[in-house]
Amino acid sequence: MQLPESGIHVQGLTKRYRRSEGGKGLLGLFGRKTVQTDGLIDANFGIRRGEIVGLLGPNGAGKSTTVKLLTGILTPDGGDCTVEGIVPWKQRKRNAVQIGVVFGQRMQLWWDVPILDSFRLLRDIYAIPGERWKKRLDELTEALDLGELLSVPIRQMSLGQRMRAELCGSLLHEPSTLFLDEPTIGLDAVSKLRLREFLKSENEKRGTTVLLTTHDMADMQALCPRVLVLGHGRLLYDGALNTLLRRYDSQHRVRCSFAGEPAFGEAPRGLTVKAQESEWEIVFQPDQIPVDEVLRWLLAAGQVREMTLTEQPVDELVAEMYADLHLT
């Protein structure tokens, strides 16, 4: 089957894991049986060149399996996939030249030598012409603020610095596609924001396709116009994150404070009111009670001094979604 030449294409991709499950103790060595678990079953999707797409799903959903299949680390049991027209497990080396990979929990640069040495070795591994390498290195050191760190080994760096160095290492050979497996795990707020900004600008400037997995919903919202939700190895949703979340966004919360004691009229049905010190918290479901009705009712109660309307936190929505899709 001929898959398109540009972007990432996945058709019926399947990966199963076999592991033997033994009984207990020495006798268990004999009564072993093989148990099959599914990493990925019959997944289908396409990603256009230059898109940023997020892979979402609870632990064990098949996110890492997908990344490992697309990067040529694993060989699938069935189905097809191509990255820029190349089948990763058949042409592992050719694929490796055009992709960059970052694992958030696994350092790929050499542990105890200055990172500049690592970058030099990467130059020779990828056979990057010297001048091109130099130019790209300068560019990345500037963008990732690595200038003073070049002579420092990874083992002496903070997690945020390490991640920046890893990103630099994975982009030196100017890959057309970048895979990131939980890149922001353990990073502080500043490092996270910088990383997002950097990824966005790489994508805009160079048209790099980015596929990332993360459990950080803020990452997803900031970076990925489109998400793929995986669960039990199956693709459950493909589309905009916000559209998906709106389905589960059933509760709105209004916090307000009044000048003086409010005199509430009869509350609309289905609305709950809670007093919290000097504030009032009103919870309602927007699909049952129109927002303007709630507001009118509130304004009638007294002189409103301050008011905020909050949606449900995204993490709660995602948890609800996982529960709804029977993923937990």
Partner: protein, 264 residues
């Protein structure tokens, strides 16, 4: 090629990062191999020789085996560490880079500390050759290098076999050590001192006797080991080393396809 040179430099630089540790371990290696040598010397002191071999000839066999083995160990420490690469998942990193997986694993870690053992082995070779008043010719030097390379490939194949096992079982089984380290201990003496299955094992299955010892016996100008064969034939035997290595490399490639990675 540039990549290989750069990777070797990287390994040396890493050793240089921990200078005192490197120095201590090199000395430790020197003492360990020196201990082996001392044991052999004690035996020779007591018996004057072994079988039909004189003391300097035994010393020569000892030096040749340890020289080859230590050089192999310098080069393939990466293979020895392969089980931990599988366990920690750092083999994933190897697979996302555009180079042969085997080459990368072998270059991932080298062990320059073995220089200690090499010094001991070289010393015993020199002492033996002087004691024998050996006449070195270009052909002899060539034959020694040739058989050392063949045997090196053979030993590397054995280390590779140990690594291949990791693809199919998470824990490395130490059984292959019997052939590598055991092979070194057994084959520091000429094979015709042994009888029975040990002799069969290291001649027909793991042909150290063919790759290394027969050429060495030709260098020593002794024909007994050849069992009536023309001395010219021994030039062919070291080729067995690359053959064994190639065969096991094929299994390795099947193993890479079987690789399951570890969860994150």
């Amino acid at each position: 090629m540039r990549y290989v040179v750069q990777a070797v430099r990287m390994n040396l630089r890493r050793a240089a990062q921990y200078r005192s540790s490197f120095l201590l371990q090199t000395i430790a290696q020197l003492i360990m191999t020196g201990g082996d040598l001392w044991a052999v010397l004690m035996l020779l002191e007591r018996f004057g020789g072994m079988g039909h071999w004189g003391r300097y000839e035994i010393l020569f066999f000892f030096g040749a085996m340890h020289l080859v083995f230590s050089f192999t160990e310098i080069a393939d420490r990466g293979l020895g560490r392969f089980s931990s690469m599988i366990r920690t998942g750092s083999f994933d990193t190897v697979l996302v880079r555009p180079r042969g997986a085997l080459l990368q694993v072998m270059l991932a870690e080298m062990d320059p500390r073995r220089i200690g053992s090499i010094l001991v082995a070289l010393t015993s070779l020199i002492v033996a050759s002087r004691g024998l008043a050996l006449r070195w010719t270009a052909a002899k030097i060539l034959l020694l290098l040739w058989s050392a390379m063949g045997t090196g490939c053979l030993m590397m194949g054995l280390f590779l076999l140990e690594a291949v096992v990791c693809f199919f079982s998470v824990q490395s089984i130490e059984i292959v050590n019997v052939l590598t380290y055991g092979g070194r201990q057994v084959c520091q003496y000429p094979m015709d001192l042994y009888t029975g299955w040990i002799r069969t094992l290291f001649t027909a299955v793991v042909p150290i006797a063919l790759c290394l010892q027969m050429p060495v016996s030709v260098i020593l100008e002794r024909q007994e080991m050849l069992a009536g064969m023309q001395p010219g034939w021994v030039w062919a035997f070291p080729l067995l080393g690359p053959c064994v290595f190639g065969l096991i490399a094929l299994i390795w490639m099947a193993g890479v396809r079987h690789y399951r990675s570890t969860g994150t």
